[in-house]
Amino acid sequence: MRNLEEGNLLFIGLSWEERCFLGLKEDYKRFNQTSKVIILYNCKSEDDDNENRGKIAEYCLKREIQTEFVELDYSDPILTWKKIDSIVEAHKEFIKKPVIDITTLPREITWMLFFFIRRHTARIYYLYHSPEKYSSDWLSKEPGAPRLLLKHSGISDLNKPTGIILLTGFDEIRTRKLVEYYEPKFISLGIQSGSNFNNKERNSKDKHIQVIKGQTNFNTFSIDAFSRDHGLSTINQQVKLMGDYNIIACSQGPKLSLLSLYRSYLANTNIALCYLPSRQYNKEYSTGIGDTVKGEIEF
């Protein structure tokens, strides 16, 4: 087996999506010094026995890469937080060159990893693999209540009203859910630009406005999570504009926007990061694998 001290430590999320295993192969092409893969999975879903699990284990064994499957309960952020803390702590000696494949990791878990890893290193590499295509049917169901990320819940001013920055996704019901739950005085909707994956139709401004109209004040702005800074400067501009609010920031748009939102949080620790969980995802959520985005974050 490879020596942990020399190679990269790679974190991925187990999923039934094809791009989970295909993504790992792409990760290895870019980080062929990987010595261990830590595979996080949700004990409350069927990930435990999905076929990608065996494929990953076999692939890594052939290349003498160590593997560790870590069971988490995604619905319990307190337990998950403690477990991720202990996993990162157990590897602290070998965490010099960590790589996170964010493709199939929930945003909340990715942010938790960032939090614990940055205790030991100031640089994280990340990878994201787009699918070849998304299902045209529903993507997720059974949403849980929105929750603020532990230790990233901002510094709330007792005399300011609540404002939300939401990077919208394909599901306008989640936009409504967020507004109904926090009852913000103002919401700024960040709409992904471009027409990838039928974005213009599935994530249209009007769809989101329609479900919150009359309930709160809003504006919209355009953001490109696939740009060089993944939309960081746009988010920072919105944060600045909403200085009179206790800001809750949430990403439902392209996965890469979680990176810019996190970086924006580090620059503005008074804002709160919010996660909207879902208990059920469509098994046909995505097919194949598309482009890969690779980068690094310096904390």
């Binding site: 849980g144 009359g214 309930q215």
Partner: protein, 576 residues
């Protein structure tokens, strides 16, 4: 052009907007100003926050009608919203023991209350004057108790306000500190901060007889630890200086356990007040409230001095048809009871006139009923203010969008009303068809499907009644019988999810059989237009067997229709 029917959360309204929009109800004011602990129960959108805010000192002081009242400083209402980012923080749950969790939960609560007290008072002219001679002494006392440096530059209340800001900042910073998992050592509690502060304030003659009323809003948003803290305060023996008025939704009502494991009891520790009002006809308590709300909004926001019934006129064809069927029913009543039996004839008209109209529409291939008119909107609201404003908002919006100039909207044409009612009704059914699991946390896919089937069969049942039932054809509410059925609790689980989605409401009334109170269920009346039913309903509730409802939900089996069903004349009660 501002839409007069915007229904954004009351917390986000300005003082003037609250004064402009709120319609005072003296019944509630009386309870809210008492020294008793009260739980104010109401569904989402029923006006809980508005009621609390209107009774807060801050708003009262700005109200020219009330700020000269002699008891202005005797009852100090302090509004404490719980749906704020501070209350949604969960870091303290990372502590291993419940005791510490409770302490931090109370600390956040206390910071919010103290801030609200000080923010309510510190800028009020009379208060500034009243404190002048006592400021130094109070500052010295406070500084001694809390071992804090108090600014010489600021007044007592301003100094507390600044200190609370700092405390809130320090606590959150420490608890969020990536390198620190330590417990916050300087945590504050009701008895270490709020009560001593009230005692100090009462040293000032203007406040010597003051009773502080903590108006705790959205208590259903509190987590279990925060609820336990709140209950401990309710169980507090001495309520001479303060009392709690807690507004909460009917579903997900907070538990009644205190931090020490005791319980609070209705009647002994608190009183429940139901915010919903009887809403059976246009002259009901809710009908009058609805009329006042719409009239006031039209006047204050759009500068329109019009009766709501003129702003939302009824389609002439509908009005004419209803008159025609009234006459048919009247003649029928006279033939049955004789002209002298006026009451019986009136009852006959009430029961059957509308039923005949909707029955004929249901049996014909005619287009959709031209749903319109202010009374129709009141019926469609199911007695919930937000439900009343929702279609009005969309109607106004549609009119603004279709206009080519800047002229005032003087009324909403019946056609627009019908189109929007149809669209809002269709949208509600779509939510059901798509599955409530898409929006409700506690709902699974299978429950979502069952709820849709249950509502579909309920409405089919109501339609069958409309066509065939001899005495109560327009009943659109139900009670559940045979509750010892094995599926009762699962059925109630489904109904609770429907309540959380505002597709179903509960009311309490007196049972016909034994005079005891019973819960009955009222489906959101906005569901009815899509199926051609009459949202007006009538004073009757259908008794449906638990098993039949369960079979409808699980097996999509039609609910059996029985013309002799045991039904009760309904009269909702204000205080459930």
């Amino acid at each position: 052009m501002k839409n007069p029917f915007e229904y954004e959360a009351a917390n986000n309204l300005t003082t003037q907007e609250i004064l402009d929009y709120y319609i005072e109800d003296y019944n509630y004011t009386r309870f809210l100003e008492s020294k008793r602990n009260i739980f104010l129960l109401g569904d989402r959108g029923s006006g809980k926050t508005m009621t609390l805010l209107y009774n807060s000192f801050k708003i009262k002081y700005e109200d020219p009608k009330r700020n000269r009242s002699k008891d202005l400083f005797e009852k100090i209402g302090i509004h404490i919203p719980c749906n704020t980012p501070l209350f949604h923080k969960k870091e303290y749950l990372l502590f291993e023991d419940d005791f510490r969790v409770q302490i931090i939960a109370e600390h956040y609560f206390v910071l919010s209350i103290t801030n609200a007290i000080v923010a309510s008072l510190k800028d009020v002219r009379e208060v500034i004057e009243a404190f002048k001679d006592f400021d130094e002494e109070l500052k010295e006392d406070f500084s001694y108790i809390f071992n804090i440096p108090v600014s010489t530059k600021h007044s007592f209340l301003e100094s507390i306000s600044r200190w609370i800001d700092k405390e809130a900042f320090e606590t959150q910073k420490q608890i969020n500190d990536p390198k620190n998992n330590e417990f916050y050592q300087n945590a504050l509690s009701l008895s270490t901060l709020v009560l001593p502060l009230i005692k100090k304030i009462k040293k000032v003659p203007l406040f010597k007889d003051s009773h502080f009323i903590f108006l705790v809003d959205d208590a259903h948003d509190l987590n279990i630890h925060q609820v336990k803290v709140l209950n401990s305060w309710i169980a507090y023996r001495d309520h001479s200086d303060f009392s709690l008025k807690v507004a909460t939704a009917k579903v997900n009502k907070p538990i009644k356990i205190t931090s020490t494991g005791g319980s609070i009891l209705e009647g002994h520790d608190y009183t429940n007040i139901d915010l919903e009002k009887p809403f059976y006809n246009k002259d009901s308590e809710f009908g009058n409230l609805a009329k006042s709300i719409i009239k006031k909004r039209l006047e204050k926001i759009s500068n329109i001095d019009k009766e709501p019934s003129h702003f939302f006129p009824t389609n002439p064809e509908l009005a004419e048809s209803l008159e025609k069927y009234k006459e048919i029913a009247r003649k029928e009543g006279i033939a049955k009871y004789g002209e002298k039996e006026k009451k019986k004839v009136t009852d006959h008209v009430y029961k059957y006139a509308r039923a005949y109209y909707f029955r004929d529409r249901a049996n014909s291939r005619a287009n959709l009923v031209p749903y319109s008119g202010f009374d129709m909107l009141v019926d469609l609201s199911t007695g919930i203010i937000r439900n009343l404003l929702d279609p009005c908002y969309y109607m106004y919006d549609a009119e603004v969008s279709s206009k080519k100039d800047d002229t005032k909207i003087e009324m909403i044409p019946p056609k627009t009303q019908r189109d929007i009612i149809k669209a809002r009704s269709d949208a509600m059914w779509k939510r059901l068809e798509d599955g409530l699991e898409k929006e409700i946390e506690a709902c699974t896919e299978s429950q979502g499907k069952r709820i849709y089937q249950l509502f579909d069969n309920l409405v089919l049942h109501f339609r069958e009644r409309l066509i065939k039932h001899k005495s109560e054809p327009r009943a659109i509410m139900f009670t559940i019988s045979q509750v010892d059925n094995e599926h009762y609790s699962e059925l109630i689980g489904l109904l609770k999810i429907a309540q959380m989605s505002q597709l179903l409401y509960t009311r309490s009334g007196v049972a016909k059989d034994d005079g005891r109170k019973e819960i009955y269920y009222v489906p959101n009346r906005m569901l009815l237009p899509t199926r051609g039913l009459d949202p007006n309903g009538q004073h009757a509730r259908v008794s449906l067997k638990c098993n039949d409802l369960w079979n409808a939900a699980v097996g999509n089996i039609p609910i059996p229709f029985n013309d002799d069903a045991n039904e009760t004349n309904a009269q909702a009660e204000l205080f459930g």
